[in-house]
Amino acid sequence: MSADDAPVIATRGLTKRYHGTDALVDLDLEVAAGEVVGYLGPNGAGKTTTIRLLLGLIRATSGTAAIFGLDCRRDAVAVHRRLAYVGSETSLWPGLTGAETLHLLGRVQGRVDDAYGDELVERFALDPGIKVRAYSKGNRQKLVLIAALMTRADLLVLDEPTVGLDPLMEQAFRLSVGEARDRGQTVFLSSHILSEVEALCDRVGILRAGRLVEMGTLAELRHLSALTVEATFAGQVPDLASIPGVASVVVDGPVARCQVHGPVEPLLRVLADAGVTGLLSREPSLEELFLARYGGRDTGPVVDPPASPDAG
């Protein structure tokens, strides 16, 4: 088996059950070398569970997970030599300074690019002389990010890595992941910040209640979904809701907004007859895709609204 075409991450029927809760059910996932894959889902969908299974921190109830062809649990040490992980709520040793933490984590990892580490400290504007307990939340998160990125590991596993980062640092993060992609590193990124996923990822998987409900490139996902149309009318706004394929009509004065599934022709015919003065149409953003899928009008159990903290 050649190293290049073997998948970096491969899970088969991966399942994790906690006393009656199905945290993850039958996950079949493949991530190829060099891919940047986004992993989305509402709170409690099972993203962190997936990642902890991949890291071998918890045991699968059934199914298998392999990274670089090695079993995630049995060969965890060998797997960890080639990956780096960032968690969303990492706790660090409060009495160590930033520099001490980076040194320690680098030594435990074994192989780090010190020059790149220094560059990252600059880029993220981190003061490494401060003790962890005195760092703000965002600065603590930067420390964990730098510790992972400076390893230049073949696989980056990131679980909500930008929680608490300000917009400037969010940019620095995107730049760094871009660099990783350009170097051929594989990235597995779970996030609630959909613009981030949209900007970085080649493929996106969407998880819901422990099941992978969608997996594909952004273009593929859009294809499955609706087109957003916004029309401004000179006179009376016509009844759009009855047109086949049109949904979620919102009328605001002379402006009507709606979603179109399938062919747009019936809508266009109505618009042309009604005297449109302005027309905007665009493909849905990932956020809209996500909201459309989980925004409540969907059937099934109630899901917490997807938050995007600090996205501004």
């Binding site: 921190l57 060998a78 990892q109 003790k131 005195a134």
Partner: protein
């Protein structure tokens, strides 16, 4: 019922945040007060009742009183024993010091947990944002703690009074309540010490360490006072001495309640005052946020472990060494007092060899063994803390196996215990040599090493619990330690050879340097510890990491 709903909602809204703190603290403190109170009650009642069955004849009671009544070694360790010819006096001596110390430990743990631990975990932030002040919250927290002490007192008093009803025991209701008050006095005082320490430093662990240091000093001062070296006045310099001066069940002297009450009130007032002067989540003693990076130890998980446990370990070593030194200092005069008495006979029957001072040290080293075993428990909770806090994730997501990590932590702990045992032995030798007590260095050093195997068993048991039931580990370890301690304390004076005694790890240890080290017993303990730890490490590698 729907009609009731608005009423319930309204009453919830009128409860002020400060009473919420009091209510929560009272509930938590009462719960643990009830658990410890049950232990207190059983300890008191069982030893009171056992007196009638163990010492049936007048002669045997007289012999007991002669042996311990003027024994400076036991008086230094457990306090004076004025009335061993009555069930009440026997009970006061047998459980008094243990309960006093346990009460103090309960007080400082509960005080720091409820007044500092809750805050550390961010639970106070919401309450304080909701309109109460830190001072009021602290005052209400102290009221809650008081409720816990009251529950502890009530159960202890109940145990004493019920047992005292037995005509063979014969303790009046009033004396029973007074005795229970003496037993929980340390709980109140050290809850106060814990509360004040919690205002001074920034974390619960640090606050508990400070409070424990003060308890250690209080014990050491009282020990010197009771060691028969002409310094009895020092008894008034230690809170534990005041409790002893209460003379519960023997010669009641309630005047000693004055300093006890005064200290408790002063500590409470100081805690409340200080609470208003500091930031939430910080201590009054400034904590440097900037530090020079010292990378020396941080080249791997073992080095990290050393760096993390260093401050606490230095504290344990100091406590063990100071205790050893004190035992050494008093050994000679204590030995003179016991020569020719029946204690001497008892010790000789146990196989005591060597000088009288060595025989006395044999009894004292039991306390050192307890300290070393508690140090082992401390290492275990620190290890578990790395996992429950999630800090361990940082290491185990890197090329380091769980087994290697846990093995490394246990190795560090073993070094801590071996050094601790040796330090205890050497310090005892130093102390006794300064008094020309004729104690042999080699013998005492070996006796120091002999303290280690029981602690290793505790370490092994904890490792197994860590592997199988991480969330219960602390309860298993401290529960077993408390059990072992209770068994030797209760069994120490009377019965021997009973199988219950064999369940105590301290009972398995030879009373060196009074008797030669029992290498077979030590080898068995080390073997048991190794098997337990091995199973624990294997189980740890097999299970999910578990948070709080």
């Amino acid at each position: 019922m729907p009609a009731d709903a608005p009423v319930a909602g309204a009453s919830r809204r009128t409860r002020s945040p400060a009473t919420v703190v009091a209510g929560r603290t009272a509930l938590a403190a009462s719960r643990s007060g009830a658990a410890w109170g049950a232990v207190f009650a059983v300890a008191v009642a069982s030893s009171a009742v056992s007196y009638g069955t163990l010492y049936t004849s007048r002669a045997s009671r007289r012999a007991l009183a002669d042996a311990y009544g003027s024994n400076h070694a036991t008086s230094a360790l457990f306090g004076p024993a004025p009335h061993l010819d009555t069930a009440a006096g026997f009970t006061a001596f047998k459980v008094g010091m243990s309960l006093m110390l346990l009460g103090a430990v309960w007080g400082l743990l509960t005080g720091t947990r409820l007044l500092r631990g809750e805050e550390d975990q961010g639970r106070w932030e919401l309450l304080l944002a909701g309109g109460t002040t830190p001072r009021r919250a602290t005052a209400q927290g102290l009221v809650g703690l008081g409720a816990g002490v009251a529950v502890l007192w009530a159960l202890t008093a109940a145990g004493t009074v019920v047992a005292g009803h037995d005509p063979k025991v014969d303790i009046a209701v009033g004396s029973g309540c007074y005795f229970a008050l003496a037993m929980v006095a340390t709980a109140g005082m050290f809850a106060g010490v814990g509360a004040v320490a919690g205002q001074l430093v920034a974390t619960r662990r640090q606050a508990a360490a400070w409070a424990a240091t003060i308890l250690g000093i209080a014990y050491a001062v009282r020990m010197v006072a009771d060691a028969g070296v002409g310094l009895h006045g020092l008894v008034w310099a230690s809170p534990l001495g005041w409790v002893e001066e209460l003379g519960a069940l023997t010669d009641p002297r309630p005047t000693a309640l004055v300093p006890i009450a005064a200290l408790t009130v002063v500590l409470a007032v100081v805690a409340v005052t200080l609470a208003g002067r500091r930031d939430l989540g910080a201590g009054l003693v400034p904590d440097r946020s900037r530090g020079r990076s010292r990378l020396g130890l941080l080249s791997g998980p073992m080095g990290l472990a050393v760096r993390l446990v260093r401050p606490t370990v230095l504290g344990w070593w100091a406590a063990i060494a100071v205790s050893g030194l004190l035992y050494g200092l008093v050994a000679r005069s204590a030995a003179t007092a016991v020569t020719g008495s029946s204690v001497h006979d008892v010790l000789s029957r146990l196989g005591a060899t060597g000088s009288g001072a060595e025989a006395v040290l044999g009894v004292c080293f039991l306390v050192l063994a307890v300290l070393v075993a508690f140090a082992a428990a401390g290492q275990l909770t620190a290890t578990r803390g790395e996992e429950s806090s999630g800090r361990l994730d940082n290491l185990l997501t890197r090329p380091l196996s769980p087994a290697a990590w846990l093995g490394g932590r246990l190795a560090v702990a073993i070094v801590v215990l071996v050094v601790g045992g040796l330090l205890g032995g050497l310090a005892a030798w130093l102390g006794s040599a300064s008094q020309h007590a004729g104690v042999r260095l080699g013998v005492v050093a070996l006796a120091g090493l002999n303290l280690v195997p029981p602690a290793l068993v505790v370490l092994g048991l904890g490792a197994l619990a860590l592997g199988l039931a991480p969330r219960a580990m602390s309860a298993v370890v401290y529960g077993y330690l408390a059990w072992s301690l209770l068994v030797v304390v209760i069994g120490g004076i009377g019965a021997t050879g009973h199988w219950v005694l064999d369940t105590s790890v301290f009972h398995q240890m030879a009373a060196s340097p009074a008797v030669p080290v029992d290498w077979t017993a030590d080898a068995i303990m080390v073997g048991v510890a190794a098997v337990l730890a091995g199973c624990g490490i294997a189980a740890f590698g097999r299970r999910d990491l578990a948070g709080l």
